[in-house]
């Protein structure tokens, strides 16, 4: 059996308890019996593992003999009965030394020594990213994500994996069966608010991340959105409708906060990513330049009904729903995350910062298939000097000097 415990939880317990001869505390242990793995928690977990729950006990003893294998522990148990329901005992030698051993009760009702793995500190989760990105700096950054569908949820997850320390999540919707095949959340989350399900998803990657969840339609709660944008270093707007994008654009321009707007077009035949950098063109500048087409991907009936003209029949509303594949969404997600990391890591001198030069355009276009607006593009084959699918194209968008959003 291999038992994982969080060293920070132990240290915090020892700090709060002070120096006493013998300390003990109840714990919750989540056991994956078939895999011989257990997770030992002294504090309530932000996210409960999908595992069997067992009772654990933490003992802090100054007597090093207790730590010895076999007979000493058995003698200790005789002196201090543990109770029949305790399955795991984590023994720690005194408050100054957090070296630990763990015993678990086997099928024969005997305590057997387990392998202990201490999860040291939050920095450990991102230790392999060091040198590529400024991990400590990212931990202080805050990102506001509007829309937690098949774009927003994986973006939240990737930013968490990269080490972003604060997220503000906005989405009024719940996880429905039709979301599952494109969304990182699964069937266990059906019916749940996306903000809560995604919050748990990111906490599984980094239990130290601070997540503020807002199950709101931002169009009806512009005050709350503005307050969150004010506290954010970056805004990622990945909603499935124009109105919230335009409202977000208005607010990020007003507060001079960088923002990324990403979307797919019909059936995810392709998509685009727009990056607003204060002083540069805003999303409203894009409309007049014929670059921001209107063929948004429509993936739900709610979306189809909301955007349809009043005279459209129910049959036509149903026919408009043309969702794309998850695999066609992911390249756009990946580009959005890279742009986000570039914006969050400006001024750092790390390998990642060379991307600042590569990703300096405000607008990027991607095609998955030669359909719709990409219909006339030529087959990819081996050519690199013409438009083809599966490549990013940066577009230099001029700022509209008469834009009523950013130029006045």
């Amino acid at each position: 059996m291999r038992v994982y415990f969080y060293e920070e939880q132990l240290r915090s317990f020892l700090r709060e308890s002070g120096k006493k001869e013998l300390l003990q505390a109840c714990a919750v242990v989540y056991v994956f019996r078939a895999e011989s793995v257990a997770h030992f928690y002294l504090n309530p977990t932000p996210v409960s593992p999908y595992a069997e729950q067992a009772k654990g006990l933490l003992l802090v003893s100054p007597d090093s003999m207790v730590m010895d294998e076999g007979e000493n522990f058995r003698q200790f148990c005789q002196k201090m009965p543990l109770g029949n329901d305790v399955e795991f005992v984590l023994l720690v030698l005194g408050a100054d030394d957090s070296s630990a051993v763990c015993y678990y009760r086997d099928r024969a009702d005997c305590f057997v020594r387990a392998e202990v793995v201490s999860v040291k500190k939050k920095g450990d989760f991102h230790s392999r990213s060091r040198g590529l990105i400024e991990v400590d700096s990212l931990a202080r950054k805050s990102v506001c994500i509007i829309g937690l569908g098949s774009f927003g949820a994986p973006i939240a997850l990737e930013l968490t994996k990269s080490g972003v320390g604060h997220l503000a999540l906005f989405d009024p919707d719940r996880i429905e069966p039709e979301n599952i095949n494109r969304h990182p959340c699964g069937i266990n989350d059906l019916g749940r608010l996306k903000v809560d399900a995604v919050r748990e998803l990111v906490l599984r990657k980094n239990p130290s991340i601070i997540v503020n969840a807002f199950p709101f339609d931002v169009n009806e709660h512009l005050g709350e959105l503005e307050a969150q944008i004010e506290q954010s270093d970056l805004v990622v707007c990945v909603t499935d409708e124009k109105r919230s994008r335009l409202n977000t654009n208005q607010l990020v321009v007003r507060q001079s906060t960088p923002a990324i707007f990403s979307r797919a077009i019909t059936r995810a035949a392709g998509g685009d990513v727009f990056c607003y950098r204060p002083g540069g063109p805003c999303l409203a500048c894009l409309f007049g330049q014929g670059l921001y087409g209107n063929a948004d991907e429509i993936s739900t009936e709610v979306q189809s009904r909301r955007d349809a003209p009043a005279y459209m029949s129910n049959t036509d509303i149903g026919a408009r729903i043309q969702a794309g594949l998850s695999v066609d969404i992911l390249p756009i997600v990946q580009m959005s995350v890279k742009l986000a990391l570039v914006e969050l890591s400006r001024t750092t001198e790390l390998p990642m910062s060379s991307l600042e030069e590569d990703l300096s355009m405000p607008f990027y276009i991607w095609a998955n298939r030669r359909e719709l607006i990409y219909e006339k593009w030529l087959p990819m084959k081996a050519f690199y000097n013409r438009n083809s699918i599966m490549r990013w194209y940066g577009v230099d968008v001029c700022k509209d000097n008469e834009c009523l959003c950013c130029a006045v």
Partner: protein, 142 residues
């Protein structure tokens, strides 16, 4: 609508429709009343209801005067609305609602002046419809 945007909208309307518009505020609701005269000399009054998150949202346009409009065949226009052929949306409390900008064509650099201009074009097309019986789509496109 913030103060800066209001000032811009006001200035453009003052330049193009001088003396023929009035902003009205009732509680939190802001609207724009406009008097319009077609080339045939007929007078209409429209009300442009400005959403709280304008210009992110499309304004609603109601035709307040005359209170009833009929088609070439004598039907009440409000009764056959919403109508793609006549460029009308669902009436609001019985008042005819004009279709001006589709959501997909709307963006924040469209001003209330442009909305008003589209309504004036709608009225011209409507008067032609009364003469020829042809649907408004033939004049305005889809």
């Amino acid at each position: 609508m913030d103060k800066q945007r209001y000032n811009i909208e006001y200035a453009i309307l003052q330049r193009n429709f001088p003396g023929r518009f009035l902003f009205k505020k009732k509680g939190q609701e802001l609207s724009l009343d406009m008097g319009m005269k077609t080339s045939a000399g007929k007078v209409y009054r429209i009300e442009i209801r400005i959403p709280r998150d304008y210009p992110a949202s499309v304004p609603i346009v109601l035709l307040n005067y005359p209170d009833t409009l009929r088609t070439y065949r004598g039907e009440l226009l409000a009764d056959i609305s919403p109508s793609h052929a006549m460029h009308t949306l669902a009436p609001q409390a019985g008042v005819l609602q004009l279709c001006h900008y589709k959501l997909e064509n709307w963006h924040p650099n469209v001003t209330l002046y442009k909305v008003a201009l589209k309504c004036l074009i709608w009225l011209e097309a409507y008067e032609n419809h009364l003469t020829t019986g042809r649907p408004l789509t033939e004049y305005l496109g889809v």
